[in-house]
Symmetry: C2
Subunit: 292 residues, 2 copies
Amino acid sequence: MPFKFGSIEGVAKGDTFPSRKSLGESGVHAPIQAGIWGREKEGACSIVLSGGYENDIDDLDYIKYTGEGGLDSRKKLVRNQEFTRGNRALQLSFEYNLPVRVSRGYQIPNGPTEGYRYDGLYYVSFVERVRVDNGFFICRFHLQSEDSFADLEKKLLKTFKESYSITRRVATSISRIERNVALAEKIKDLYQNRCQVCGVHLKKPSGAISVGAHIRGLGKPHDGPDSIQNMMCLCPNHHAQFDAFTFYIEPNNFEIVGLEGYEGKKIKVSARHKIDRSFLNYHKGLCLDVIT
Amino acid sequence: MPFKFGSIEGVAKGDTFPSRKSLGESGVHAPIQAGIWGREKEGACSIVLSGGYENDIDDLDYIKYTGEGGLDSRKKLVRNQEFTRGNRALQLSFEYNLPVRVSRGYQIPNGPTEGYRYDGLYYVSFVERVRVDNGFFICRFHLQSEDSFADLEKKLLKTFKESYSITRRVATSISRIERNVALAEKIKDLYQNRCQVCGVHLKKPSGAISVGAHIRGLGKPHDGPDSIQNMMCLCPNHHAQFDAFTFYIEPNNFEIVGLEGYEGKKIKVSARHKIDRSFLNYHKGLCLDVIT
């Protein structure tokens, strides 16, 4: 099953699957055991709720979800959970605001009477690492549905208590989410989160903040490619100004043009980073065209 | 009809309406004449495509749309279009990434055979002001559907050429988009786009860049209110660091704690801005809780 974000073609919200295996074959959630389907450099595209953590909350539209790891063979927490593997993947889904498919198992109160039910797309609204009763730390994720509680209740619960005649919402792939998280992470690593324009390094409690910014925009009307040759590592401020066409980078010599305080200075470019000058030229053209 | 963003309860993608009046009564697009339903301080929630501009493009999933104004009684462009009224509203939809409902009229190739058809949610991907053949400027908006071309073709066009037996996708309100654009614009105005932490003023070709940031986050799990007492005007860098719990504002005296270079300094607070200290206290609590 391909690892992809968003809805799965042909799978409607409310569809049920008799087993984890069939849920996997549908493309919704490939791993047979793991609750999180994710990649450390790309994000998590799907989780399954099947109980087991007493502190979890499931309000249907809002979920408080414990990460993976730290359990012994009896499912008892005996080590700290870390932001690695699936937990790091879900953290990335938070940082990049990626949609996470949620499926519920028969084991939990809001689940189907049997098997597993696909319940639509959720977004991670908050990530924390907290100490639980026995003294170990867990990674905790808060997720919010893209649908309202009332709608979920109507579509997922009522229909299952009564009959199968739900109004089917055949899902579609989300065409908007095409950016490659791995590439953004790569360029941020390459510059160690330092802005190529101003060199600022913005700390956060775990690491630092920077943006893997596209020079020629993705999607219509710009149709720039999602490649490292079309990217820069910028701080959020200079990213916002670059995208608003406040300044441009001279393609020939990487000089900054139009940005107060940086006029005539050059951006820092790593020897391991080949920027395609034609993309800088495209962006420059738009800056020169802007009429205010 | 209430002015609201996102899908309309009970209206499915692909639904048709015999007239602009009935489209208005459905809640999709209230104005009977105007192509843009928007407010200058809140954004635009809906547009209708019904032809008339020769430079417009309609690729179904991608739309190049000319703004409003500048026409004489014969629909000839005789003045420049400005980013005011509906055009400013659509520009705000771009800046805040708000969903725009798109309906197509019978007048255009991709429209229904008669009446008006609701075609789902689009997002503004690019805004420009360009000079057209006769020398006047128009405001131009590029919009991209949340659905893929293939899906739209299947759902909207084919079904209408053949029969009415479409797979109905009953729309739901989007519960995620609840933030009040007017409030964000208000606080940005109040501080004239200067960051309350560092005082930076980030220019862009039309105006300046800042963020109307919430102190106690909206939605679950924080449940902060969308009110001016719960907001600050920040630059994108300090907004990102504030949201990542890098630093906090001491509720008693507005001192900055935890931010390199600003330790012990105070944020600027306008006499016309009453920050509710309990929200600062909530955010401070999260900062002190963060475990890395």
